[in-house]
């Protein structure tokens, strides 16, 4: 009975409104932050940083943004790749065209570009709903793909449409080392997650969820669907845009529009559904599942099959990896249709009752 809230009385609503009302959770969170900021960089190998941790952090950020739109506001979007692209190219243009533009400012400005783009393509959501909207948001995706291939100005007149950045700095610190990149991404992620959490547990978050769950009733209690949906698009695409900028600047360094293709949009959607719609933690679980699992499988499967004396070639490995991945998605959904975050919550609930079964 280590994990229980009994005896923890809240003396004010303020205390009850904390993000982690339960003491153990607060300690766990603190411990997690310490691990993330201190222990992980000490232990991580040169492979883990650039190949696993940084993409995980950036994708978690993007998934967070997508979750606001899809999970909280219920507007299924397949255009997240486009918002990332706009964020990346937007930040790029500010970065290379304005001398001395600091990285952080460029990333935020990229996010703002994505926000405008997001609002524009969010407008149809006022009329179009559900899967129809989902498919319609692909228009944003393909339009962005085309735009960055065709409009030379946006890629600083590079002949092929691919661009690159280097010599990144934050407050005078160079972002050359992997650990520095990691800390930078982690900080952006933690801060954004905090702000996002504040939003979703505040008034605007309730508006989003109300629109998601029952828009007619929401209108009757005075929620403006237009405002709620467009703010969701704005906030979401802002975050996704920042993630896009980080993905381009920090992870890839050089990129072409294909780096933000429709596959990226799909992957982001998987992340939020697998992780758990309408849950900030879900974004982290989802990103871990989608980013880390395939890498993990690729690294582990050969050893695993070797146990049975089977040799597996690259193609076979990739196919096996994809199949296991697909099967795991289905399996997790069967176990818990509301995603990993819900599974986690149920687990915690059981822990709270432990050692009694119910």
């Amino acid at each position: 009975m280590l994990y229980r809230e009994n005896g923890q009385f809240k003396t004010s609503y303020r205390a009850d409104q904390q993000i982690f009302p339960i003491l153990q959770d607060r300690w766990a969170m603190l411990a997690l932050l310490v691990v993330a900021y201190v222990a992980v960089p000490l232990l991580a190998s040169p492979y883990l940083f650039p190949a696993v941790l940084i993409p995980f952090l950036i994708m978690a950020l993007a998934a967070l943004g997508v979750n606001i739109l899809v999970g909280y506001c219920g507007q299924i979007s397949l255009g997240s790749g486009a918002f990332m692209a706009v964020g990346a190219y937007g930040a790029y243009n500010f970065f290379v065209r304005i001398p001395g533009m600091p990285l952080i400012a460029a990333v935020i400005l990229g996010g703002l570009c994505a926000m405008l783009f997001g609002i524009l393509f969010g407008l149809p959501s006022l009329r179009v709903k559900g899967l129809y909207l989902a498919v319609a948001t692909l228009a944003a995706q393909f339009f962005a793909d085309w735009m960055f291939l065709r409009i030379k100005w946006l890629t600083n007149d590079s002949s092929s449409g691919s661009v690159s950045v280097s010599a990144l700095q934050v407050f005078g610190f160079s972002l050359e080392s992997d650990a520095a990149k990691y800390w930078f991404c982690l900080t952006v992620l933690v801060l954004t997650a905090l702000l996002a959490k504040n939003l979703v547990r505040g008034a605007i978050g309730r508006e989003w969820m109300a629109i998601r769950d029952m828009d007619v009733a929401a209108a009757v209690i005075g929620i403006r669907p237009m405002y709620a949906k467009l703010t969701a698009f704005a906030v979401s695409s802002f975050i996704v845009g920042m993630a896009g900028a980080l993905w381009a600047f920090v992870y890839l360094g050089a990129w072409e529009p294909a780096a933000f293709s429709v596959e990226q949009s799909f992957r982001l959607l998987f992340m939020v559904i697998i992780g758990g719609l309408g849950s900030i933690t879900g974004a982290f679980f989802g990103a871990a599942f989608i980013v880390v699992l395939p890498i993990f499988l690729t690294n582990v499967l050969p050893g695993f099959t070797a146990l049975f004396g089977l040799h597996i070639d690259t193609a076979g490995l990739d196919h096996a990896q994809v199949m296991v991945f697909g099967a795991l998605i289905v399996w997790f959904l069967v176990v818990e249709p509301h995603g990993l975050a819900r599974l986690w919550a149920t687990g915690k609930q059981k822990l709270r009752l432990w050692p009694f079964p119910h």
């Binding site: 249709p337 149920t346 609930q349 059981k350 009752l353 119910h358």
Partner: protein, 269 residues
């Protein structure tokens, strides 16, 4: 009720939702062939859950029977699909209507006879439902989603009757129906019961009405059966009178005069 054959025998079942929420804590009940059994109890007592457990519709709610057994005519039915049960004559009218929104009223009714193959039987059933609920006939061509709450309720009941069932699990049939229709619904129940020997298990909030038509009753509280007995006995029980029929003591009290501090007496828990 001992003289009759038991058709549904629920034996000490426990139901858990979502792996953690324990809702039924050992419910046992028997439904005799050709009987009308009422399942009473307040909100959240577990009536709906009991019916779902019998008709095997728990899975879709992520619930599961973890203990006990359920038998239909002596056969264990926990592992049958709902469709198997319908083919054995057990149909549930789900709480909250659940009409097929995009289908018209008539199509809704016709899907109800999915397990029936004889065209003439289907036609007779359809006529029967239309005579029971003339309102449905008027609205037969509108999509179910665009009919009123009461019309949908009639549609749900009528749809279940289309399967020519031998056992009907009725979940709150009177909800949202106008008084005279409520009366009619119970008359239909009685009618089917006496004429076609259809067995009914009905979960109802309208206790007075339910006890008037049922032969036997169970009262559920927080997932346990706290009282059972022949309907007439229950109806004359003082507690039942006071808490479910509102005629405690002497006279029916006005809703305006109910004392605000009076709290429910609990039998258990």
């Amino acid at each position: 009720m001992n003289d009759r054959k038991i058709i549904i025998d629920v034996n000490g079942i426990e139901v858990i939702y979502n792996h953690v929420i324990l809702v039924l804590k050992g419910v046992s009940l028997q439904v005799p062939e050709g009987g009308i059994v009422a399942l009473l109890g307040g909100n959240g007592a577990g009536k709906t859950t009991t019916l779902r457990a019998i008709s095997n519709l728990l899975a879709g709610q992520r619930g599961a029977v973890t203990k006990g057994s359920i038998e239909l005519r002596g056969e264990r039915i926990e592992n049958l699909t709902p469709a198997d049960l319908v083919r054995r004559g057990v149909v549930q009218v789900m709480e909250g209507r659940h009409c097929f929104a995009h289908l018209t009223i008539e199509e809704n009714l016709l899907t109800g006879s999915y397990t029936r193959t004889s065209r003439s039987e289907i036609a007779t059933n359809l006529e029967k439902v239309y005579t029971y609920f003339p309102r449905l006939k008027q609205r037969r061509d509108s999509q179910a989603a665009y009919t009123s709450g009461g019309e949908q309720q009639m549609c749900a009941i009528g749809r279940a009757l289309m399967a020519s069932p031998s056992v009907v699990l009725l979940d709150e049939p009177s909800m949202g129906l106008a008084p005279q229709i409520v009366e009619e619904v119970f008359e239909i129940v009685k009618d089917l019961n006496t004429r076609e020997r259809v067995t009914f298990l009905l979960a109802e909030q309208n206790t007075g009405m339910a006890l008037r038509y049922a032969g036997y009753g169970y009262i559920l509280e927080s997932g346990r059966v706290v009282m059972d007995g022949p309907a007439s006995e229950l109806a004359s029980n003082e507690d039942v009178k006071e808490f479910y029929l509102g005629v405690g003591g002497s006279e029916r009290r006005s809703f305006r005069e109910v004392k605000s501090y009076r709290r429910r007496k609990r039998w258990l828990a």
